[in-house]
Symmetry: C2
Subunit: 325 residues, 2 copies
């Protein structure tokens, strides 16, 4: 058995798994709140502690953990193992030597990877993308992240920055995005974009149950709530997912004509809406893509749920020590 | 010396070169009008004749031509060597067995490739993309074609259809494109789009020399003419290239965030405008791309001119017989 630790550094939770990278089974796992407001040192201390705890939970017969992979929601220097920028955490971690710090604390080689690239790798090897040579992943949540596997290899681009599929411009004159661009896919189809469409429907006074479901407290309107309304038959709520899925479909279409993946995996919290989101994606690519055989492309939900990042990060560590492709 | 024939099947001209694929030198070449309206049989006959003629022009000491590559402006079945659809020719060549027909006539293995993918391969190996591992090519002419080299390999996608960078949606509500989609990059930045901007400026009565340069015959307004006006200092003409370059920059930005090439090569007739087109591309990617190190990406004009397709097709043949990567 070849075992590696995978870490998912989330805005809310830290998640560590000890993974048999041959089978993708998680032998032991630990989670704890990230408490990111306490700053990098505290978070890194907690992370090292979780790695040690999960390691000692691992059955002795599994062997020794060989290296650690960490999925990080931000911009990284992969070679130096630095965090450059964490856009969604209360402290932004400029130039934090995450790999070296954890390595010193746990006594193992540590490798960083963008969190959605880790999910991409996890889904490709152990989840919805098993067996395809070229795959795209869109992770739709607070933002829209992405990743590409090309010819059986995670595609990194310059310093691991390739695969930011949520920051394609799909509307050249569209609204400003958090990244500084205009009209990014993320502006139209992320969780907050869906919530905002729900809020707008309520304050416009459309005939919808969305308002009533939250007692007209706009703060409580979430993508999950709108999904619930849609599943109860609310036409406005359904239309909101239809719009988001149409936008997402345009982003998927762009990846189809440029990169031509066999499979497109939709991950992230918003993907829990299932076909409410995925059917308009599929319809949109059929409508918009005529110059490649779109019928050969599958658009599928992610399969690994919360473990995707842990599995992908562990696999990344294994790839970096030369154990596996 | 390892020599291969490269063929560029253009809407106007057929071009054949006998290429030393080690150095990228063209040892002999022949061109003739395509006369596509005469139909596939006549064109294929002429093509075979040109291949034989160029072969007999080749110095005997260079050795034997080993295989033929053909760059085709359309949709292909690479494995079967079929042309499925030629959108820009008067006859559309449905299911024409181009590879088998030429192979029977010249007695050599024949391999097909989309024409812009051939240009991409040629520019990567012998032209503006030499030495980079990952490169994108946009060929801006009557349409906008494209191609990707990823990790030192032409990226094919499903059946060679990947790399259609001109058919990314950059304006979800934009005008209809010839491909059936709306708001494709091609709609905004191709040669006809540039010509149409010039025509519009004239019929709107803007203060520009464009009209006078063609004696107010709108039929004569071309991208080349507008380029000429811009170089003579015409502000409206400059602005037209600025707009086209801005649109093209959005398409380039999308490829940067998704695929992350080190170099972007701009080929095709419209690229002859040089920095009139390329400077707004560079400005646009600096403005729009914040999530990857855009300063590490070079946007450069193609170097090989009319030979790119011939060189790329010859290299494609060499790769297919296993001679070279």
């Amino acid at each position: 058995m070849k075992i590696f630790a995978g870490v998912d550094l989330g805005g809310t939770n830290l998640r560590v798994g000890i993974v048999d990278v041959e089978t993708g089974s998680v032998l032991a796992s630990r989670t704890a709140p990230t408490l990111a407001r306490e700053g990098p040192e505290a978070v890194m201390g907690r992370m090292a502690e979780l790695i040690r705890a999960a390691t000692s939970d691992t059955p002795a017969k599994a062997g020794r953990v060989e290296a650690v992979g960490i999925g990080v929601p931000g911009v990284l220097d992969l070679k130096q193992g630095l965090v450059l920028f964490l856009p969604n955490l209360p402290t932004t971690w400029p130039d934090v030597p995450l790999a070296a710090t954890i390595s010193a604390q746990v006594g193992l080689p540590v490798f960083l990877l963008n969190d959605v690239r880790a999910i991409t790798l996890g889904e490709w090897k152990f989840g919805a993308g098993r067996g395809v040579d070229t795959m795209a992943c869109f992770a739709v949540g607070t933002g829209i992240g992405g990743g590409l596997v090309i010819n059986g290899k995670l595609h990194l681009g310059i310093g691991g920055t390739a695969g930011e599929l949520g920051h394609q411009t799909i509307d050249i004159n569209g609204p400003v995005c958090g990244c500084g661009n205009r009209g990014c896919l993320e502006v139209f189809a992320s969780g907050p974009a869906i919530a905002a469409m729900g809020i707008k429907a309520v304050i416009q006074g459309l005939t919808t149950s969305i308002g009533k479901l939250v007692d007209y407290d706009l703060n409580k309107i979430t993508p999950e709530l709108i999904c619930k309304a849609a599943r109860q038959g609310d036409a406005v709520a359904k239309d909101i997912y239809d719009q988001a899925g149409t936008y997402l479909g345009v982003g998927v279409a762009n990846v189809l004509v440029s990169v031509g993946p066999r499979k497109v995996v939709i991950a992230g919290g918003v993907a829990a809406a299932g076909d409410l989101l995925l059917e308009p994606v599929r319809r949109t690519i059929r409508e918009r893509v005529t110059i490649m055989p779109v019928e050969k492309v599958e658009v599928v939900p992610a399969e690994l749920d919360l473990n995707a990042g842990v599995l992908g990060s562990a696999l990344w560590a294994a790839q970096n020590v030369g154990y596996t492709d």
